[in-house]
């Protein structure tokens, strides 16, 4: 463990120092914008490293540690560490620094005690992470979820945080990296509007404590990363970072989630209307454009991969089977979907009254108490009073409208517009400076936001206590039946409901073989080839349910619990 931790520290040291060295060539001279640039470059370095290692089949702890050590050595020899300035206290100290410190401490506790739990994360995003870590490269096997082939830029960062320890105890740090980017971007946008650092970082705190944003970051979902990258794009446009760095974020955004692209109209409008005042002299043109091209290559990888493997860059969109799936998405704007999305958001979801909050935002907006109670009103006044806020609100509004027109009307669509509360947070922070009474209400609302972001609805206190009681090395939100041994191969069957990531175990010690049978005999044949005696079967369609019922009726499987089954001895010997 100590050696693994050392590898992790060295790798992060190399990524941090590399990002710092690159920043010196592209910085704008404005600390708030340069912080966003620094975080973006670090994410680019990590993404590119994991991607290159994954494609070349060298995605192992040893290889990555070796490369990191060499990179760190070269950087130190070239004197990159001497360029590090004395860090500036960006937040401004005082009560705000105390609040941020408490928040960081709570995040650390949540990262330590949370284990991947969210349905979409463990069924859709994370099986890829487990497969890549186990096989030491990017694999064609991505799990059973119909959308598994969508871009996986966020998963690259998750791999970074599990690879060196070969354990997922720190996997949520990947989301926290994007939460930091979201905070820095919100603060940078506020600074560009002319607000003091204290107001800007208060706005960032309000945004980070937006329940949908916060839970998205601690649940291994990629919606908060997509929102953070939208805000980073806006911050870089406003800060005059130039098109090169913006292209970097564009690449990372499109490589994280296609919904990033749905917000482009507002970002483009902001680029046209914003009048940045940064100095061009500080930057190297070759480096800024080089970064941009690099970002596009990293983000575009997934579309090229899908084109090469499946003949369709946005596969599975357009595939006949996918269109029938209950998790399918449509392509292009839809006026009826837009009306339904907007009406439901305004009339109902914004109150967050139907259900407790979580990362998936079922039947909720997840914008939280401060944005609803203070932010909307503050934005209304701000738009009337401040032309700069008016321009920003227009850009955010256009992005909101384009996103709502491009996403389906389903129970979780608001998670695709999690960037929007940032303007409400900025407005609320500014408004709280106008009068002590306004500040008092904002702080009461913020206290409630902090309370409501302790635990998501799908990890209530009882389940959280179960996780906290487990040792860190065994911590998992899946209770495996006693009959399933550690390290045993498990055959997984089902669809979008199959929580297959959890089958690998927190240390990826279990091999998982995915079965995609069309009949009972087909199932038995695939099972025989897999060599597995333990089966996890979570039907997600009527056909799969009928197949499972048939297998149970014919006594081909013996039920255990939690969707686990054991292959009886008789069946095992017959299929040999």
């Amino acid at each position: 463990v100590i050696v693994s931790l050392l590898f992790l520290v060295v790798a992060n040291g190399a990524a941090l120092l590399g990002a710092w060295a690159m920043l010196q060539r592209v910085k704008t001279g404005q600390s708030s914008v340069d912080l966003v640039l620094f975080l973006v470059i670090r994410l680019l370095i990590i993404s590119a490293s994991i991607l290159l290692a994954g494609v070349s089949g060298t995605l192992t702890r040893g290889c990555m540690a070796f490369v990191s050590m060499v990179a760190l050595g070269v950087l130190v020899l070239r004197g990159a560490h001497r360029q590090i300035n004395k860090p500036k206290w960006l937040i401004g100290g005082g009560w705000l620094a105390v609040l941020w410190s408490i928040l960081l401490l709570r995040l650390a506790i949540q990262v330590w005690f949370f284990s991947p739990y969210e349905g979409d994360a463990v069924a859709y995003h994370l099986p890829k992470v487990a497969e890549w870590v186990r096989s030491g490269g990017i694999t064609r096997e991505m799990g059973l979820h119909p959308s598994a082939t969508f871009p996986a830029g966020f998963e690259l960062i998750e791999v970074w945080w599990v690879l060196f320890l070969r354990h997922d105890i720190l996997i949520e740090v990947a989301g926290v990296e994007f939460l930091a980017l979201a905070a820095a971007s919100t603060a940078a946008i506020a600074r560009q509007l002319g607000f003091e650092p204290k107001v800007a970082w208060f706005a960032a705190l309000i945004y980070v404590l937006t329940p949908g944003v916060y839970f998205g970051a601690t649940s291994c979902m990629n919606d908060t990363p997509a929102a953070a990258l939208i805000l980073a794009t806006m911050a870089l446009f406003l800060g005059g970072a130039g098109f090169g760095p913006v292209l970097t974020v564009l690449g990372l955004g499109l490589g994280t989630k296609a919904t990033y692209g749905f917000a482009i109209p507002g970002m483009a409008l902001l680029a046209m209307l914003a009048r940045p005042n940064s100095s061009q002299a500080l930057r190297s043109k070759a480096w800024t454009w080089g970064l941009g091209v690099f970002g596009i290559l990293v983000g575009g990888f997934w579309y090229v991969r899908n084109w090469v493997w499946f003949g369709n860059p946005v596969y599975p969109i357009g595939a006949p089977d996918y269109a029938l799936s209950s998790v399918s998405v449509h392509v292009g704007p839809s006026f009826p979907a837009f009306i339904s999305n907007l009406t439901e958001l305004v009339d109902d979801r914004i109150y967050d009254s139907h259900a407790p909050l979580g990362a998936n935002l079922d039947r909720s907006a997840g914008w939280g108490a401060v944005n609803f109670g203070c932010g909307i009103l503050a934005m209304m006044i701000g738009i009337a009073a401040d032309p700069r806020l008016r321009v920003l609100a227009l850009a955010f509004g256009v992005s909101l409208v384009s996103c709502l027109a491009l996403v389906d009307h389903h129970p979780w669509y608001v998670k695709y517009v999690l960037f929007f509360p940032a303007i409400l947070a900025i407005s609320a922070a500014w408004f709280s400076t106008l009068h002590p009474g306004l500040a008092a209400v904002t702080f009461v609302a913020l206290a409630f936001a902090a309370l409501s972001t302790f635990l998501p609805y799908d990890l209530p206190l009882a389940r959280f206590s179960d996780l906290a009681r487990q040792s860190w090395s065994e911590r998992s939100s899946l209770s495996v039946p006693e009959g399933i041994r550690r390290g045993e191969t498990v055959a997984a069957c089902g669809g979008y409901r199959a929580r297959s990531y959890l089958l690998y175990g927190p240390d990826f010690s279990r091999r998982v073989v995915y079965l995609r049978p069309e009949s009972t005999q087909d199932f038995l044949n695939q099972l025989r080839q897999s060599g597995a005696r333990a089966v996890y079967f979570e039907p997600s369609s009527t056909v799969q349910q009928e197949l499972l019922s048939s297998l149970l009726a014919q006594k081909k499987l013996e039920p255990l619990r939690n969707s686990f089954y054991r292959v009886p001895e008789t069946v095992e010997s017959a299929t040999r």
Binding site: V346, I350, Y351, D352, S353, H354, A355, P356, L357, A369, F372, G373, C374, I376, L377, M380, I381, A384, L434, H435, G437, L438, A440, V441, T442, V444, A445, F448, L451, S452, F454, L455, P456, Y457, P460, L461, A462
Partner: protein, 71 residues
């Protein structure tokens, strides 16, 4: 004024008191004419507190139940 009329027409009368669009539209009208008045900050803070109350009405018990405080 348009937003006020829109909500009066589309939202049942007995629900207008808790319709955030209607409330903010009315407040917006007030703020437009009385922005420089001495009582504006207090009225505005009261409005924000009322909005916060509306939010709590829907979410407060949910939060307590997730935290195990409202079994």
């Amino acid at each position: 004024m348009g937003a006020v009329l829109w909500r009066v027409v589309t939202v049942p009368f007995y629900q207008l008191w808790r319709d955030w669009v209607f409330l903010l539209a009315v407040y917006g009208l007030y703020s437009h004419f009385r922005r420089t008045c001495r009582e504006w900050p207090v009225t505005t803070a009261s409005m924000m507190a009322f909005m916060l109350g509306l939010y709590w009405q829907g979410q407060f018990l949910h939060v307590l139940s997730v935290l195990g405080l409202n079994q």
